[in-house]
């Protein structure tokens, strides 16, 4: 049982870490601000989300699990807002550079 859960944790956390890597590569390599933004949101939402998911497979108290999910939701909310605000200003012809 615990072996299966560990395997799930390893799978989810590794995938999450991969999304962080992909997001960073995208941020560094993509040519324009909007596609970089696209890469960022993937890393942000999915990367952290998968890490949280992976940790939830480990035995946690209910309250601790709730806190983990709250951390993710808070980051998601802040990320979405900032992304939208950046997208508005980084649009071609918007206030930039």
């Amino acid at each position: 049982m615990s072996f299966a859960l560990d395997a799930l944790t390893i799978l989810a956390v590794s995938t999450g870490a991969f999304f962080f890597l992909a997001g960073t590569v995208g941020l560094l390599r993509f040519p324009d601000a909007l596609s970089r933004l696209h890469a960022l949101t993937k890393a942000d939402n999915l990367g952290l989300g998968l890490v949280v998911l992976g940790l939830l497979f480990q035995p946690e108290e209910l309250f601790a699990g709730l806190k983990l999910v709250t951390v993710w939701l808070l980051t998601l909310l802040a990320g979405a807002t900032v992304t939208q605000l950046i997208a508005r200003t980084a649009r071609p012809g918007g206030a930039q550079e």
Binding site: T70, L74, L77, A78, A80, T81, Q84, L85
Partner: protein, 315 residues
């Protein structure tokens, strides 16, 4: 200890130094401030690795978060003034001399770190034996609120004095007025929406962190900073306006914490024979009685320190 945490620690230490070098070396001030925020974030992880779970959230909240917000605001306002005049740049000789001096300072400190006495002196056993007298479960909160309580009392006074200093920088025509610009809520914007969702959750978390501080890592400074950040966030989103600094309720709120702290400290003479001494049976009750107003006062002070001196006159 296995090898891997050491590899992680070495990597983390180099990241901290790298980001610090960048904060100093970046040509653009805004980039330097971003570097500083990253520096605070990495330091938070360092504190977690140094088994200091009480310091980590303080660094995250105050060292990186609130200080970062303050400096970001300042760097935006000073935009365009950040290129040094030709005569201002220090010459090569001065730079070399400064580099030499700083290397000596660092080397001296490094030598001290390497030559620290073995076994390390520690006050942890004393803290452990005395913790039961406070009724608290968190040793750091016990240190802050019991046997180093005078530090904590004076610290709230330092914050208050800094705020008085900031307010006294207001020009005459806006004396006692509203701090900072008025932010208007953009009706179709996401920011007010986000703030409406985030602020209640944040207030709840702030109160939780404050409350849990008596038994586990957390406490009044960490909790107060979260409360302050949420207040400033609501101001930036245009949900609420900053209060005029001459409001009586505001001033009462600011002095309530230090005043209650001081009064209970004086009562210590009658109850236990010394300033800030608590009778053992009531220690926890008294500490909580101090902590609640102190948390509210610190939250108000921090928020107003970020908001800055008054900029708009009373109508």
């Amino acid at each position: 200890m296995t090898d891997r945490p050491l590899a992680l620690d070495i990597g983390l230490a180099f990241l901290v130094l790298g980001v610090a070098v960048w904060t100093i070396a970046a040509r653009d001030t805004f980039a330097a401030v971003v570097g500083f925020v990253a520096f605070g974030l990495l330091l938070t992880l360092v504190w977690a690795r140094l088994a200091a779970p009480d310091v980590a959230p303080t660094e995250a909240a105050i060292g990186s978060g609130v200080t970062g917000g303050l400096l970001l605001g300042a760097s935006t306002r000073l935009h365009g003034t950040q290129t040094p005049a030709p005569g201002e740049k220090p010459g090569a000789i001065l730079r070399l001399a400064a580099a030499a001096l700083c290397t000596v300072v660092s080397a001296g400190l490094a030598a001290i770190v390497l030559l620290l006495p073995e076994p390390a002196p520690t006050l942890a056993p004393q803290a452990a034996t005395n913790i039961s007298a406070t009724g608290l479960g968190n040793p750091v909160t016990a240190v802050l609120m019991a046997y180093r309580a005078i530090d904590t009392l004076l610290e709230t006074v330092v914050l208050l004095l800094a705020l008085v200093g900031v307010w006294s920088l207001a020009p005459d025509r806006v004396w006692g007025g509203f701090p900072g610009p008025r932010h208007h809520a953009d009706p179709d914007g996401l920011l007010p929406f986000m703030a409406q969702l985030l602020v209640p959750v944040g207030l709840l978390v702030g109160i939780y962190i404050f409350w849990v501080g008596s038994v586990a890592p957390g406490g009044e400074f960490q909790g107060a900073t979260i409360l302050a950040a949420m207040w400033v966030l609501a101001m930036m989103a245009g949900l609420v306006d900053a209060p005029a600094v001459s409001r009586r309720w505001l001033r009462l709120l600011l002095v309530a914490g230090p005043a209650v702290f001081f009064a209970i400290g004086l009562a210590g003479f009658a109850m236990a024979g010394a300033f800030l001494a608590y009778p053992e049976a009531y220690a926890k009750l008294l500490i909580v009685t101090i902590e609640v107003p102190v948390t509210l006062s610190i939250a108000t002070m921090l928020a107003l320190l970020v908001a800055g001196p008054p900029e708009r006159a009373l109508r």
